[in-house]
């Protein structure tokens, strides 16, 4: 047992649901008690999805506990199959089903007999893997399933596409800026003359998975989701994959050179050096920013970086290598992947912290007292408490991290966005500091002063206490209105009773 207040990565089923519901026309059925379908709320609220989230629960209740699910799961699967005719139904185990130890595989096999669509059991164990590991596993599992199916039915297309093409693996629902990153990646690959064969799982149809092998190579932009599927495709079709995250100008160039190497190996003679130069020096603003005197002012400033492996590693490199900022500590909550992370950032920071405990991260920040933090929503709140500015660079995230406007992190436009994010964090910090030194703006308390001067009406203790419960931003208004009401109604003191009477009487 461990005492936990906050977690960075969610439970395993969230990963499975994120991948399964990213596909088009794939439905997930959770084997879970009432209330565990919270994923639907996140999908509907954070991403503002217009469509119903294709996730339902086969509810585990007291009855199931006593006698087992019996035919309930099977009935729920076949019912969903007839109601919505999904291509695939993914039966998703939860922490509850992990310990009930019912034979879910058997349910899937029996349900398959009566379903037009396919039925799969997600192969994830709640107690062994987290959201990210489960997502990676589920994506690979679905890919394997459909490649095997196509092979069996002899429907597997052979050979590569005539012109260079690639698959993009790992773009999913409820992930950090993924939709914008996808647009940027497609644009970048288009500029390089590479067409996109398939994007998975985002909006992909499972019927197209059999065509995955036709791509010349696979792109895996994120460390957390996609490597397993890419590794499988490499072993199955010999398809090479690029697992460089094109985040920041230097890494984007490295990514492009890797594309060049693969294409040259495939017998297409390309040279992207001029393209990289043109983009770096003249199109993107990030390289120029590094040379400008604004960025000079950031030299040697101390920062702490924390997030998922992909973003924490990439941002650390951008800060240290491209901006001359001093990364005191870089860390990630993907503790299961610590060797990779160390290898990526070892030379760019003083310390590495691999932990899932937010308190350790908070303590490290307090100890280091950096000029800025780049982290998750949790680090943003630590920053608030310690008065240190924070740029959010990684999940877990809130609704404000699902912007409507175009905000990629990858590619050349991504590099521009990151410059703004980093620079704005620092200037805000500096401004705060200067304001403090010079005594700040003198607008403080203006509202309270103007209403306390001439009201001449006493508030009794209970009413005063009640007034303090009113949220700060409307307290002044409530106070004024109550006093006005009291004056007009001839009360000379404000009691709770007068307060509520004023509240009831108040008009629009």
């Amino acid at each position: 047992m461990k005492l936990a207040y906050w977690m960075y990565a969610g439970p395993a089923h969230i990963g499975t649901l994120r991948v399964a519901s990213s596909f088009k026309n794939v439905h997930s059925i959770m084997h879970a008690p009432l209330g565990d379908d919270y994923f639907n709320v996140m999908s509907s609220m954070l991403e503002r999805n217009r469509d119903f989230t294709p996730v339902t629960a086969s509810v585990v209740d007291r009855h199931v506990l006593a006698r087992g699910s019996g035919d309930k799961v099977i009935n729920n699967i076949t019912r969903k199959d007839s109601e919505e005719a999904p291509d695939l139904i993914v039966l998703t185990p939860t922490c509850t089903s992990s310990i009930l130890q019912e034979d879910l595989n058997n349910f899937v096999a029996r349900a398959q007999l009566n379903c037009n669509g396919d039925v799969l059991l997600a192969d994830v164990n709640h107690y062994r893997v987290n959201e990210l590991q489960a997502a990676d596993r589920t994506l690979a599992q679905i890919v394997q399933f459909y490649i095997a199916k196509a092979k069996k039915n002899d429907e597997l297309p052979t050979g590569k596409t005539a012109t260079p093409s690639c698959n993009i693996l790992g773009i999913s629902k409820l992930a950090f800026h993924n939709n914008h990153d996808l647009t940027e990646l497609k644009k970048l690959l288009g500029d390089l003359g590479v067409s996109v064969n398939l994007v998975i799982p985002d909006a992909a149809s499972v019927h197209h998975l059999k065509n995955l092998g036709q791509a010349w190579f696979n792109v895996v932009p994120y460390r957390e989701l996609g490597p397993q599927a890419a590794t499988y495709l490499q072993s199955e079709f010999g398809t090479p994959f690029i697992d460089i995250t094109p985040l920041g100008v230097v890494e984007t160039a490295r990514f492009i050179r890797q594309v060049q190497a693969i294409l040259n190996d495939g017998g297409v003679d390309v040279n992207y050096e001029d393209f990289i130069d043109e983009q770096t020096l003249h199109v993107s603003q990030a390289a120029w920013f590094s040379r400008s005197i604004d960025c000079q002012n950031l030299t040697g400033k101390k920062v702490v970086v924390f997030g998922d492996s992909t973003h924490a590693a990439a941002i650390t490199k951008v800060l240290a290598r491209e901006m001359g900022i001093h990364v005191v500590l870089a860390g990630s909550y993907c503790a299961y992947d610590k060797d990779w992370f160390r290898a990526e950032v070892g030379e760019y920071c003083d310390e590495i912290l691999m932990t899932e405990d937010h308190a350790k991260v908070g303590d490290a920040i307090a100890r280091i007292e950096p000029a800025a933090i780049f982290g998750t929503q949790m680090e943003r709140h630590v920053g608030k408490r310690l008065n240190i500015p924070c740029g959010v660079i990684s999940a877990p995230i809130h609704v404000q991290n699902f912007p409507v406007g175009y905000r990629p992190f990858l590619g050349y436009e991504g590099a521009n966005q990151i410059v703004d994010l980093i620079y704005n964090s620092f200037t805000l910090g500096m401004e705060d500091h200067l304001l403090e030194i010079f005594g700040g703006h003198d607008t403080k308390d203006a509202i309270t002063k103007s209403i306390t001067t001439d009201s001449g009406i006493d508030w009794d203790a209970a009413a005063m206490k009640e007034l303090k419960r009113v949220p700060g931003f409307v307290r002044g208004k409530v106070k004024r209105n109550t006093e006005k009401f009291a004056r007009n109604s001839g009360f000379d003191a404000i009691t709770l009773e007068v307060m509520y009477a004023a509240k009831e009487a108040a008009g629009a």
Partner: protein, 468 residues
Amino acid sequence: MTASTAPNSLNFECETGNYHTFCPISCVAWLYQKIEDSFFLVIGTKTCGYFLQNAMGVMIFAEPRYAMAELEEGDISAKLNDYEELKRLCLDIKRDRNPSVIVWIGTCTTEIIKMDLEGIAPKLEAEIGIPIVVARANGLDYAFTQGEDTVLAAMAARCPSEAPASEAPEERGGLSSLLNLGKKSQVDSSESEFKQHAPLVIFGSVTDSVVSQISLELKKQGIKVSGWLPASRFGELPALTPDTHVVGINPFLSRTASYLARRRKCKLINAPFPIGPDGTRMWVEAICQSLGVEPQGLDEREAEIWNHPQVQEYVSLLKGKSVFFMGDNLLEVSMARFLVRCGATIQEIGIPYMDKRYQKSELEALERACEEMGVPKPNIVEKPDNYNQLQRIKQDKPDLVITGMAHANPLEARGITTKWSVEFTFAQIHGFSNVKEMLETLTRPIRRNASLDQLGWTSMVKEEVARV
């Protein structure tokens, strides 16, 4: 629109129970704030923690007095000793927070592995010297607000069985304890405004503001509230004697009600709930009647609220509108009864669980309201099936659907106006004083969509995916 076939009485149905609601452990979110010296320990898995973390949003960052005791594989396979593990965590909590009570929230996992929380708690309580209250608020048995019911039922067992000496401030909850702050004379003078009646205890967690408002409302009738379950502090739990009259403020407190009536032998006042001016009037009336007090000026008070220009304006927006409750928080019948009085027609009342005994007066009030307002009596669908409900919504096109967040955005995208139901759980909706705000919330989507309607942006989904 609704068919004109008005059933003569309320019709009860029960569906598959395949509906979306919050897990009952969410009660932690409001109860830890209500009971200021408590600490809530949710004994469960990452799934529970993830839900709480996401459902509570920013509250999580404010050093909440709740935490997860996250079960690991060793706990599940009983390699670790439950008692020792819980002792270790509770000692940490005692050291860091020093609460007056630790509430253990049992979850689905502790049910399945049959962790004996009720057995462990008294021993550990004796060992560490802090009361431990056990509530099984799990998704196997309960929905959303029923979590509070399990906690309050468990807490009722801790209420003292005789009133402390009459001068002790603990005895007075809410308003009287507020007034008592250093102003002895004021209390003495206000004491005389109360009539002689048996002690009254109100159960249900509401914000301290609502506590004051309701206490004042009853004071106008000369009725003194002896205490609230829960009070702001664990040590202020009200005394319960066979003479004590108890009344619920919320419709989801049936376990607490039956515990108070059966085990503590209190006299349960069955009344519609004080939601809406009509509900508040009936609730106060029922209390007066039970305590043998003649109600004073209640009809005028209700009329005054209804006649408020702002209230009238909101009510005019609801008049003739059809409303569909998908059902997730058990406030549905009371809200529907109030909406009928506002002139709306109710197409369906989905509800997780329907206790016809505890809600008896409320159901009668709903029937009366429908008859007097001349609208058909709605179907009450217990354990609804959300998929079937969406088909009915698609067919009947209600003017307003009151639903959870999982369905709100997709329905809006299909041109169906929704109101997010959870808001009513967290907003102040009780008593006369909050009617305007409740109506403001209820009519907000109608007002918002009215201002957008001329743009012609009603259906925002493409045809091929427009399946409801």
